[in-house]
């Protein structure tokens, strides 16, 4: 067989939808600008031409309507994959997501369900200001019935997105837009290396699945456990390298359902834990992780669990790098924790 193609994260995500559209005639893809144009981040480029406008099409600027229609299509038997252009714009859809998609199976005891996937670019670092930079995952991980997935590499993105699309429960698939073109290490003042230099840019053409609910130990280590996902996985790796702290870095990949076992096993070994996310701190997903880790590993912990996160403010345009929890802040936390 010939050499594995190289893909950046956008290409891998597009390839996942291509595979899903190819393999299941009930898969439909729609959202704002996703049809002819192929999406403002080009994730669906070429898919309308390949599968036709009745399977890949533009939707009105109505996030609530997009998700509502997806719920209805799902009830009919379709498998909708919708794009919310920026995660910051998902709020008009919260009622359909929380009150409808998430609870459909429960309230009907399985008579109806919502097999939809909501793709949405999240996170900052592109000078998007407070309305193109948010990380709202913590709002949805609170909702019983929803699954939440956040990839950190092209390989994972494709395998996880196919798994999400094939899943019969509603899945929120948040895409770290800062990683679309390369494994951003958190140093905004240095050139981003492209994905091609990263092993995880080797992505098979065809169908493969990374099961939801399985974390990935991206760096084994002994000194401390770092829990991260999306963009922050690469920032954490950078911080470990730069501080030479022997951190075990776990890429959660799926926030709900969570792979607590992998997390607890690691913390029992290291006795220390730092949690990193870009979202605002208070009631972010890191809070749940901290609560779970101390519940599961209380007697193994040698230092308090620290959270390194975005500050509890909106994402400021001019000061995004002061807001962003970069390698310096993560590294300092690692050193604090191991010195405790």
């Amino acid at each position: 067989m010939n050499a594995m193609p190289k893909m950046n994260m956008i290409e891998a995500i597009r390839s996942a939808m291509d595979v899903a559209l190819e393999e299941d005639g009930n898969v439909v893809v729609f959202g704002q600008d996703v049809g002819y144009f192929g999406g403002v981040f080009r994730a669906t480029e070429g898919l309308q031409r390949k599968y036709g406008p009745s399977r890949v099409f533009d939707a009105p600027i109505s996030e609530g309507g997009i998700v509502a229609v997806a719920v209805g299509m799902g009830a009919y038997g379709k498998r909708p994959v919708v794009e919310i252009q920026f995660a910051d714009y998902i709020y008009p859809a919260t009622d359909q997501l929380i009150s409808e998609a998430a609870r459909m199976r429960y309230r009907t005891a399985g008579e109806w369900w919502s097999p939809l996937t909501v793709r949405s670019p999240y996170g900052g670092g592109i000078y998007g200001g407070q309305t193109h930079s948010q990380s709202p995952e913590g709002i949805f991980t609170h909702v019983a019935g929803l699954k939440t997935v956040i990839p950190s590499t092209p390989y994972d993105a494709k395998g996880l997105l196919i798994a999400a699309i094939e899943d019969d429960d509603p899945v929120l698939f948040f895409e770290p837009k800062r990683l679309y073109n390369g494994p951003f290490d958190g140093h905004h003042d240095r050139p981003v290396q492209p994905w091609t230099q990263h092993p995880s840019s080797e992505v098979p053409e065809g169908r493969y699945v990374i099961p939801l609910g399985q974390a990935n130990v991206v760096r084994p280590g002994e000194a401390i456990t770092v829990l991260a996902y999306g963009t922050m996985v690469h920032v954490a790796l950078t911080a470990a390298k730069e501080t030479a702290v022997d951190a075990e870095i776990i890429d959660l990949r799926t926030l709900m359902p969570l792979d607590l076992e992998t997390i607890a096993t690691s913390v029992r070994k290291t006795g220390r834990c730092v949690i990193v996310h870009e979202a605002t701190r208070t009631c972010g997903f890191g809070a749940e992780l901290a609560a779970l880790v101390q519940e599961a590993c209380f007697y193994d912990l040698e230092a308090p669990i620290e959270r390194v996160t975005g500050w509890d403010t909106p994402y400021p345009h001019a000061f995004e790098w002061e807001y962003f929890p970069g390698p310096a802040r993560v590294g300092a936390a690692l050193q604090r924790a191991v010195q405790e």
């Binding site: 009105p60 229609v69 359909q96 429960y106 005891a109 359902p257």
Partner: protein, 410 residues
């Protein structure tokens, strides 16, 4: 001290409040048979005056008059009458058992039975309905077992919904009756998605959705009309204007300035306004819209002009906010009485048959009730194992829910 009136901003006020004489003088009710019936395939642009008319077929003497008078078998009319009567008798019993403390809550559709029953009989059995909590008549007209409905109301051991939903939030895939949501309006936009999916498969079934006039203020109403217009979805968008939303009259929903049917006009969707207490008229407009949708000509908005004759629910006391006797003063009468009068007039029904049917239906409901109660009620008798509360959150139970179920000791 007299009730204060507003200054500055306009706050709509109903025609009467408790203590006032009920009046509907502000309504202009055209005679039956005065509205022309367009061909099912005319362009929406030629129908811009329809939202401002009122399609009526049954006249004061029980005659069926005008273009819209459908030619229906008497047997179908009797089926409709029976379903409306059964709905009312069912409602009455369910309120009684709620008062007896056997369940927590109930909602009647009294006075609005034709809205659901006539539509059900004009639609095909495969057409998917996205109702509100006030269209139980759809299930009954589709001959869904009363016992199954009661099991849901009682949340008992035979409740297919496992006691999870409040009473009357039915769901029946087999009956083409979509799960009722407690969140107003959400089903309306979902129906459009279902219809788009059916159309993309070139499937025959269409979707029909219902919403109360009050809930038209929700965003989902706007999403539904937008997507239905853009994608020309085969869906019938019914607006049930029963004049009240709990304590708020229709003016608070935007009914003072124009009709609710006019909302459809705003999207270039053909919009009909119909006497909702006129079984024949509701059947006729539904059939027209269904034929149009099946022909690939897209959505229709239908405003059903009716009246909520009783309280909003068993938790409500309309005496606190609207004049006593308003339902008696309602100018469009009672859907059951009007269809009955028509059947008698055309010689296919009699007072005696009506009386016998009433008895039979009451017995039918009694029997179904006894059977259902043998499976338990909300407060007594058999119930499902509590451990079932952890089922169906996801297709497969994730680890954290297994752990919680274990913590719960189940």
């Amino acid at each position: 001290m007299s009730y204060p009136s507003n200054v500055g901003v306009h706050i709509p006020q109903p025609s009467g409040r408790p203590g006032d004489e009920p009046t509907f003088a502000h309504l202009s009710i055209p005679a039956a048979g005065t509205v022309a019936r367009p061909a099912h395939d005319v362009s929406a642009d030629t129908m811009r005056d329809y939202p401002y008319q009122l399609i009526r077929v049954l006249d004061e003497e029980g005659g069926a008059v005008g273009d819209w008078a459908p030619s229906l078998e008497a047997s179908l009319l009797v089926r409709g009458l029976r379903a409306m009567m059964l709905t009312r008798i069912y409602d009455a019993r369910m309120v009684r058992v709620q008062r007896q403390g056997k369940t927590s809550f109930y909602m009647k559709s009294t006075g609005e039975e034709a809205v659901a029953v006539a539509a059900a009989l004009a639609l095909e059995r495969e057409d998917m309905c996205f109702p509100t909590y006030r269209q139980q008549g759809l299930l009954i007209a589709r001959d869904w077992p009363l016992t199954d409905m009661m099991n849901q109301v009682y949340s008992n051991s035979a409740d297919r919904l496992k006691g999870r939903q409040m009473p009357v939030f039915y769901s029946s895939r087999d009956a083409g009756f979509f799960s009722i949501s407690g969140n107003l309006g959400t089903q309306y936009s979902q129906a459009v998605g279902w219809a788009m999916a059916a159309a993309s498969d070139n499937a025959r079934p269409i979707a029909a959705a219902w919403i109360g006039e009050g809930a038209t203020a929700e965003g989902d109403f706007h999403y539904a009309l937008t997507f239905a217009s853009v994608y020309q979805a085969p869906v019938i968008l019914n607006i049930v204007n029963n004049q009240w939303a709990i304590s708020s009259f229709s003016g608070i929903a935007g009914g003072e300035r124009t009709t609710f049917a006019a909302r459809g006009l705003g999207f270039g969707i053909p919009a009909l306004r119909v006497d909702g207490n006129d079984f024949l008229a509701v059947h006729a407009v539904t059939a027209w819209a269904a034929q149009r949708a099946r022909a690939g000509l897209g959505p229709t908005v239908i405003e059903l002009f009716t009246y909520r004759a009783e309280g909003h629910s068993t938790s409500d006391d309309p005496g606190k906010y609207r004049p006593a006797g308003e339902s008696v003063a309602w100018p469009l009468g009672d859907p059951i009485e009007r269809l009955k009068a028509h059947l008698i007039r055309i010689g296919h029904w009699s007072e005696q048959q009506h009386e016998e049917l009433t008895q039979a239906l009451e017995e039918e409901v009694r029997v179904a009730g006894r059977l259902s109660e043998s499976f338990g009620t909300l407060t007594e008798g058999k119930r499902l194992p509590a451990s079932t509360i952890f089922d169906d959150v996801y297709k497969e139970m994730p680890p954290h829910l297994k752990a919680q179920r274990a913590q719960a000791g189940w």
